[in-house]
Subunit: 132 residues, 4 copies
């Protein structure tokens, strides 16, 4: 139960806790099924670029129905979707940190994290997702 | 004490409570001294357009060092800054709901609220500001 | 019953029939609850500008939860939301032709029509809405 | 005989039938000789990113007078048109799914399909083209 914003707050809180444990400030975004922002937090000291990147990682995960890590594999030079990142207003991020939120077998939103290495971003996003 | 994000969370929580009391879902954004987003929450049912508008109301209040209500007066046809809203990447919002955060006589950020009438937006922003 | 696309096709067909009866070619767009396009048809001879305008009229009606005729009243110089049309990426259209689709008391999408006078656009949009 | 919109509807209907047979929801766009949209349908469940991508695949096929599969070959790193996808407002899509419509030896428009794998997109576009 609870609103989409309530759930987003829980997810972002869990993600922030993980980022603090790692020691890397992050920007965390949650979007809804239509790709529209629900909530975004920028931890003190997080990279400014991560504001747009975390938001677009979340958007990408909903708009392509895949993690941005998967999009990364498909979008490399020579691969099937090379050039993906310049489509759709250049909103599609093709490196990891975006995860769809799956509920009852349907993608109902996504979480996007940016601020550290891809491995760190993904682990923080996973911590957020686990709090859904 | 506390980080900018801690303060932003307090402000947004107070703004959300006021919006719930009014009965109008809102989008609330806090930006820092550089005009960069610190936190944004979209309450369930809030207008989709309010995502960009609340963010840009906050940006405007920092970028012009004034409330967006004041910007509104200056930007009307025939007034001193007519045309203001199409400058700076069209990010400047010229209707009320954006308030600078003043600390020790300096503007250190801003809060922007969108989702209701201007009067409602401003009262919610004031509630948020009071929680600084 | 039927998918959102099925319903959009019915609405657009009814709108096209009305436009043909009026004798003015139109562009008709239907968007969903998240403001994302479901279907768009441009009748032969319709204005090129109407491609973007009808799409943005539909977006505006969802994003502001009002007809674009109402937005027009609010956005005039000296009125409460003067400057509205340059916010949200300049996607908000402030003249008539966009109508929300209301189902069970909730806005679940919108139809936008462009190509004639505002009166003509609105009558074609209403014909489309009636076919929901 | 028939208008451009009539023909576009036939093409899109054939493409939708193919997409249903494959079991993958798609977004299908037809543009005219000037690269301007004639019609676009988004099937229920199709990727949100496919709205822009299918439209731009169609535009690309007219604007470069080639399939987007051909553009893909030319645009890879080290190849003749590397960097193509960031020109022309980043509208040029460099992976398959866009096909020109050729009539009497002239390109009079194009169809663009997005939503599945490139192989699936192309087969759906070909089904649409066959209905011209």
């Amino acid at each position: 139960a609870g609103t989409m914003l309530d759930k987003a707050k829980k997810m972002i809180a869990a993600a922030e806790a993980k980022a603090e444990a790692i020691g890397v400030p992050m920007v965390i975004t949650v979007v809804d099924e239509g790709g529209n922002l629900v909530a975004q937090h920028r931890m003190d000291g997080a990279l400014l670029a991560s504001i747009a990147i975390s938001r677009d990682k979340a958007y990408t995960s909903v708009a392509l129905k895949m993690t941005t890590e998967t999009a990364a594999k498909l979008a490399q030079p020579g691969e099937m979707l090379y050039g993906l990142n310049t489509t759709d207003g250049s909103r599609l991020v093709v490196f990891g940190g975006g995860l769809p939120i799956v509920y009852n077998g349907r993608i109902i939103g996504a979480i996007g994290v940016s601020g550290g290495s891809i491995e760190q971003d993904v682990s923080v996003a996973e911590a957020g997702l686990a709090a859904w």
